[in-house]
Symmetry: C2
Subunit: 322 residues, 2 copies
């Protein structure tokens, strides 16, 4: 296992290259896919990076591995911890399993049983809490105090950002054409800021743009106002994008992301269905958001080479939005 140095500022080109090498034992090199029907629909050449085929079914594996490898041997031996009801919980659990150390995950008691089972399936200890931010934070602090485990933040951590950047690095390397735009959905901003850094350091000309639901458009408003804005509501089908930006991810996004596009709930579901029907792959609602933006703002993408990061495929098949 390669150890990485902790990052006290946004990762640079060398940091990203070392990160990509170091996390190899934790990740798949996911394929890129093309689809002629969706290209025709968009009037652009779309290159999809399929993180739904990543280990644990989402890109989050990259960031969790990158952060875990930045701990000292002593820290790591005491285990990894986080609070999450989603993909980050599975990512931290599998990172710990791969490293041979314990994982302690705080999950809301009403989290989907299948997600709890997945986390436990990687050998993690699960602590249940009431599903409010305050209760989750308190439960996490208790677990950390008791076990000495290291907390891996889901996004606002330069190690996590460096890991998430490796998806766009692979996309740029594996795409035969020169990309004009790389689209990423924006939740807490870990993937968005990593994608922006990858575009800056590894692409001749690609800009990294974001896309998010209108209902939780904190990132678009933050970019406009120059400070972190919050969401009034967190209702959206794109359940991975409800989070607000963090201080570290916002600073990178503010500097490096020129545009964040917003789409409606209906546009997200329509885009998701097109990808399922035409590409025959299973993606989460969150990763339909960038393609929804391509369909909503065709003038911005006409004739361009557009990379789209499909972030994950963990959906409850019994609760599809169509």
């Amino acid at each position: 296992m390669i150890n990485l140095n902790p990052l006290t500022e946004a990762p640079n080109q060398a940091d990203l290259l070392l990160t990509h090498e170091a996390i190899q034992p934790f990740i798949h090199r996911t394929p890129i896919m093309r689809n002629a029907s969706l290209d025709a629909m968009a009037g652009a050449r779309l290159i999809f990076k399929c993180e739904n085929f990543q280990k644990i079914g989402a890109f989050k594996m990259r960031g969790a591995a990158s952060a875990a490898l930045r701990l000292t041997e002593e820290e790591r031996a005491r285990g990894l911890s986080t609070h999450s009801s989603g993909n980050h919980a599975q990512a931290v659990a599998l990172a710990a399993k791969t490293l041979g150390v314990p994982a302690y995950i705080v999950m809301p008691h009403d989290a989907p049983k299948v997600k709890i089972a997945a986390v436990e399936g990687y050998g993690a200890s699960v602590t249940f809490c009431v599903n409010t931010p305050a209760d989750r934070q308190k439960a996490l602090e208790e677990v950390v105090a008791e076990t000495g485990a290291a907390f891996i933040h889901p996004f606002d951590d330069y190690g996590v950002v460096a890991g998430q950047a490796t998806s766009a690095m692979e996309l740029i390397e594996d795409t035969k054409e020169v990309l004009d735009i790389i689209l990423s959905p924006v939740g807490g901003g870990g993937l968005m800021s990593g994608t922006a850094l990858a575009a800056r350091y590894f692409s001749i000309q690609a800009e990294a743009w974001g896309a998010e639901p209108e209902n939780v458009d904190d990132a678009a408003r933050s970019l406009a106002s120059g400070q972190i804005e919050h969401n009034e509501t967190n209702f959206t089908v794109a359940d991975g994008l409800r989070t607000n930006l963090g201080a570290k991810t916002f600073a990178i996004i503010h500097k490096r992301v020129p545009k964040i596009l917003v789409v409606s709930e209906e546009e997200i579901v329509t885009a998701m269905r097109h990808i399922w029907e035409r590409m025959k792959i299973i993606i989460e609602p969150s990763c339909a958001v960038p393609f929804a933006a391509v369909l909503r703002y065709p003038e911005l993408f006409a004739g361009k080479n557009v990379g789209i990061i499909l972030t994950g495929g963990n959906v409850d098949l019994a609760k599809l939005p169509f």
Copy 2:
């Protein structure tokens, strides 16, 4: 466009090689996928050939192209025709479009609208009929008499069989390990007989085995009795496998397929769900049948390298069996 000679007997090794070369303009080379969770579940190494990513969303594109290229220039210029409510209709329509000739497709008037739209989307003329075998046959004969178009049988045609064989040829070539068994679902037997020929001519040791639903187990019974048996009912969730074998496909299967396994409806749905959830890909119920057989008869597959042809991904997302 390369023209192929008509086949008056089962294709041999040279026929299959030429077919694969000739149909290149019509097909994608579909990827193979592996999945560690499903391997663990099966106790075997499973290599999935993803024909759900094929043009028109199913392997049928291969057979339709192979048959169309065996027509004379004059025959072809008058167009292609078939009766089908499923993937073969789309395959013939797209083959005709690629060749720049007309397509005349007979479809039951109650076929799913999305399938009718797909066929019309390829520029084919659709003739509607009552949904009985006799009515479809009559409507087809009228269309052929009127237009002079060539009928492309969905399976009982050596040209079609040669085309379907190319999926297993690619699977054998792209798999790093030597395959022990290649599993194919059995409907009319076009894919099954083609897979058996590919295994015979291009694999050191692979046997081609079939899998079919218990409810429409005509192929298993035909193999046992040595003559073509028919189904009493055609109720199965695996809607692509309701057909009985044809004379040509049965002759090849009888000679070259040592085993056809049967599975229950419940086992098919469970296997389909595992593939959706773990592999994050969309497959039709029909192509879950071989994986269901692996799970039902683990002693036959333990420790083996098992190729599985995932035949297609055209499902109605509004009518999922789970």
